[in-house]
């Protein structure tokens, strides 16, 4: 497959991002007999974020049993061995245009314009940092960072300044607990997890465990400011219902508050959803740029690596259908509206022609609620009908609610349906 970059040969499929979604998409496509698949990744090795998380809990939805992050990556790469897939690391997608035309740059590819038949965007997510979150206070030479950055530092065996001994994690979702493990590995003591919400966003037992280890888990607590002295972090200032206080620490980790990595789409024909900050897709995972598909965490923050891999497999199957001429590259025109209780819905669009798609090919309708809801039933309202989508159940903030509906028919003449709670 060396010819992909070295000669004029164009890949049939360009997959951008070699994380769980991208690798699983490549596996699905190659298993279906599609050749000339090029996966590019901007990092120096494939695997995406799980690469930096050497603890269990990865790949569950995709494999039969959970792996460590690097273990899951190895599992995905093993599937691709001997397949017609080329993975090119240290290679960046610069821009994307109608065609699709993809401009890439890398030490082996050079600067070049590819015109593959299909592009799969699987670029994943990053965490919001202190600036994004507008947290006031002082600046520090080191000691204010995101979990991802700390995990990369650990993986690169970079030396942390000696004065960094204790840290506070802002956020209480899964990655905050992953941060505890990384911190322990780096011999940093975690003093507290700080969350604005009134409960821990990850699983409650993890919080019990953390507390058992002497880590304060403070919910309903706002991060006010960062106190520094002499260019070092001195404390984090927080406030809860009882008032304001300081928690002394040498480092502050901002975790979670995920943002899809879509900077290269600025000015491209791929429409971005203002709610998810990721590409707008339909149930076949087609974006608004014909021939360009998207899967995994780039769609919205944050899903587990296993879930992303499952989405990768689905987008692979969808692209295969497209390449075989069984499906159009253009996105469906109908769209979902959401009630105010719903934070976002993916897919945002719907193709009335594809109502009986094999579940291996389409993405289930996934949504997140803005606040915890209990004993509510989700319904789909079109101008003709009201279709129940769920039983009466709880919908929790930051937890996936995936609704698999296929036989709803079209969304009606209005080509618009409201997803709401009854």
């Amino acid at each position: 497959m060396n010819s992909l970059l070295d000669s004029e040969a164009e890949p049939d499929v360009l997959i951008v991002g070699a994380g769980p979604a991208g690798l699983a998409a490549a596996a699905a496509l190659s298993a279906a007999g599609i050749e000339k698949i090029l996966v590019i990744d901007r990092d120096d090795a494939p695997g995406g974020l799980p690469r930096f998380c050497p603890h269990p809990g990865f790949g569950l939805e995709y494999c039969r049993w959970p792996h460590t992050g690097p273990g899951f990556v190895a599992r995905l790469l093993k599937t691709l061995r001997g397949r017609a897939v080329r993975i090119e690391c240290a290679t960046t997608l610069l821009s994307l245009r109608d065609g699709p035309l993809a401009e890439i740059v890398g030490p082996r590819a050079g600067l070049r314009l590819l015109s593959p038949r299909a592009v799969i965007l699987a670029t994943g997510i990053r965490e919001s940092n202190r600036g994004n979150l507008l947290i006031p206070g002082g600046r520090a030479e080191s000691g204010i960072m995101t979990t991802g950055q700390l995990q990369r530092l650990a993986a690169l065996k970079a030396r942390l300044p000696n004065y960094l001994r204790s840290l506070v994690v802002v956020g209480t979702d899964h990655v905050a607990f992953s941060a505890i493990l990384t911190a322990r590995h780096l011999r940093l003591s975690v003093k507290a997890l700080i969350g604005e919400e009134d409960r821990v966003m990850s699983y409650a037992p993890l919080a019990w465990l953390a507390r058992a280890c002497g880590i304060e888990v403070a919910t309903g607590t706002r991060t006010q400011s960062i106190a520094t002295a002499g260019g070092r972090v001195r404390a984090i200032e927080v406030a809860d219902a009882r008032g304001e206080r300081e928690i002394g620490c040498d480092a502050i980790l901002f975790s979670g508050k995920w943002l899809p990595e879509v900077a290269f789409l600025c000015g491209s024909p791929v429409e971005i959803d203002q709610r998810t900050n990721g590409p707008v897709i339909d149930q076949a995972m087609r974006t608004t740029c014909s021939g360009v598909f998207a899967a995994g965490n780039v769609l919205h923050g944050v899903e587990s690596s296993g879930w992303c891999a499952v989405e990768g497999a689905r987008v692979g199957a969808s692209v295969e259908r497209y390449l075989r001429g069984e499906m159009d590259g253009a996105q469906g025109q109908a769209e979902f509206a959401r009630s105010s209780e719903i934070d976002f819905i993916v897919p945002q669009r719907w193709d009335d022609q594809l109502t009986h798609l094999d579940p291996k090919i389409r993405i289930p309708v996934t949504l997140r609620v803005a606040n915890d809801l209990h004993k509510r039933r989700l319904v789909l309202l079109t101008d003709q009908s009201e279709i129940p989508l769920s039983r009466r159940q709880a919908f929790l903030r930051q937890r996936r609610a995936a609704v698999d509906f296929n036989n709803i028919g079209g969304l009606g003449a209005q080509r618009r349906a409201l997803i709401t709670f009854a």
């Binding site: 240290a90 050079g110 600067l111 507008l134 006031p136 080191s142 600025c266």
Partner: protein, 463 residues
């Protein structure tokens, strides 16, 4: 690291570095002394990054004269040094009748002093050219010559130019004590000493403390903090002119300006603070910045913020610059360069050189100067990854390290290998722009840090 020289310049901010550069053109033994590990670590790194023509500086002041001269020189000399400059223009906005009157007066004054191309624009004209301004503007004063520059590379270029032309540079050399002797002064830092016939105090935010060490007490630094926020590059599609409210006496107000790196900068606030090190961002400050956006360009409110920071302006109780030659004492103070230091730097340097030569040193001008060039980090330059020939000759320019700013491994490697190499991670950031983007190091921070550390270690091994 003791030694002796003819001129010791205390402070390698933009002003001290510019002075060192100008003096390096003469047969003079000059040393530039910096307390921090890298040049430009204080006021020179936390400012609005504007190159002002001087039109909005009060006429008749030394500041006006030196800003004008600095601007004229920068336009000619910056391109030779590889430094970018983009004339984006500025607009002062008026909402009330009082403000309109102020702008009319500014227009008349400006025209009188030779700023021919400034113009009062009607609201219609403003909205036609910049449709994203909030409704309600009465008129605006357009200053087409105002420009944006790279403040970090400017200091680096001046220092590099000075050292390549013979000036010595001492980093991590905080002057702790000064002592007069028959030949001039001896500066102390721990056990090290530098003897100098003449001292130039360009101590910026601590210039008053340096003066006091020598027994001079003409002014006190009154640190004025300015908070800023930097919007992501997507904001640039909405806003591409330096916009500011009608100035109040002594305060220019919060401006919204494009940066040479392709972002939009909002700030500064103006707060007199006690502690000259207190570069904290506050909730109140951020609220003021958001208010300014809402008032001028409300569409910017939804734009992602990349980073927030605060700078410190070295103001004094006097409104004008405090450039005080004390010939009998072999001491020259260059202080109170409040907020126009970057614009005026080359004007100040020339002024200082003229004060010293030939009166203090009858030094001849060198016949040859070594030309230096620093990498152009501006968004509109041809980046190394865009240069096919460069990538072909060295693939390290095609391997991105910082994806947000598109900074390659090759550029970081070059910055670490360059003369006056950065000795802190934050200096490396300023030298390359890596980690300056929207992710602020989520992706590249660890790699950049490990590259930096490997380099520091190799320096350590070499001694």
């Amino acid at each position: 690291m003791s030694g002796r020289c003819q001129v010791a310049i205390i402070g390698a901010g933009v002003v001290g570095a510019a002075i060192a550069r100008d003096l390096s053109r003469y047969d003079l033994d000059t040393v530039l002394i910096e307390a921090h590990a890298d040049p430009g670590e204080e006021s020179s790194k936390g400012n609005s990054a504007l190159m002002c023509s001087g039109v909005d500086v009060p006429a008749g002041t030394l500041e006006r004269r030196l800003v004008q001269r600095g601007y004229a020189r920068y336009r000619v000399e910056a391109p030779v040094l590889g430094l970018p400059i983009r004339k984006v223009g500025a607009i002062l906005l008026a909402w009330t009748a009082d403000e309109v009157a102020v702008l009319e007066c500014e227009l008349a004054l400006g025209r009188e002093h030779g700023f021919e191309n400034i113009a009062l624009l009607t609201a219609d004209e403003i909205y036609r050219r910049w449709p994203n301004f909030a409704p309600g503007i009465a008129c605006g004063l357009h200053l087409p010559d105002e420009a944006i520059v790279d403040p970090f590379s400017t200091v680096y270029a001046y220092c590099l130019d000075a050292t390549e032309n013979g000036a010595a540079f001492r980093r991590r050399w905080p002057v702790e004590r000064v002592e007069r002797n028959a030949a001039g002064w001896v500066l102390h830092n721990g056990g090290e000493r530098i003897a100098a016939s003449f001292v130039i105090n360009a101590g910026g935010i601590r210039a008053d403390l340096v003066d006091r060490m020598a027994g001079f007490q003409h002014f006190t630094i009154r640190p004025r903090r300015g908070q800023y926020l930097v919007l992501d590059k997507s904001a640039r599609a909405i806003h591409d002119i330096i916009a500011m409210p009608t100035p109040l006496p002594g305060y220019r107000g919060i401006l919204i300006a494009p940066t040479i790196f392709g972002n939009v900068l909002v700030g500064p606030t103006a707060e007199n603070v006690e502690d000259r090190e207190d570069r904290c961002v506050t909730a109140e400050g951020l609220a003021q910045l958001r208010q300014a956006m809402a008032k001028m360009v409300p569409k910017l409110a939804d734009q992602p913020v990349n980073t927030i920071f605060a700078g410190m302006r070295p103001a004094t109780e006097f409104s004008d610059y405090q450039i005080i030659p004390r010939y009998e004492d072999n001491w020259l103070t260059v202080a109170g360069i409040r907020s126009t230091g970057l614009s005026a730097s080359l004007g100040i340097a020339e002024h200082v050189a003229n004060l010293l030569i030939p009166r203090v040193f009858d030094a001849g001008r060198k016949e040859h100067a070594t030309a230096i060039r620093v990498p152009d980090l501006s968004e509109t330059s041809i980046r190394p990854w865009q240069d096919g020939a460069r990538i072909a000759s060295d693939p390290a320019y095609a391997e991105m390290l910082c994806h947000c700013e598109r900074i390659s491994l090759g550029e970081v490697r070059d910055a670490l290998a360059a003369q006056l190499a950065p000795r802190t991670l934050s200096a490396l950031k300023r030298r390359t722009r890596a980690m300056f983007g929207r992710c602020q190091g989520f992706y590249c921070g660890a790699r950049l840090q490990s590259m930096f550390e490997a380099h520091e270690q190799s320096l350590g091994q070499r001694g």
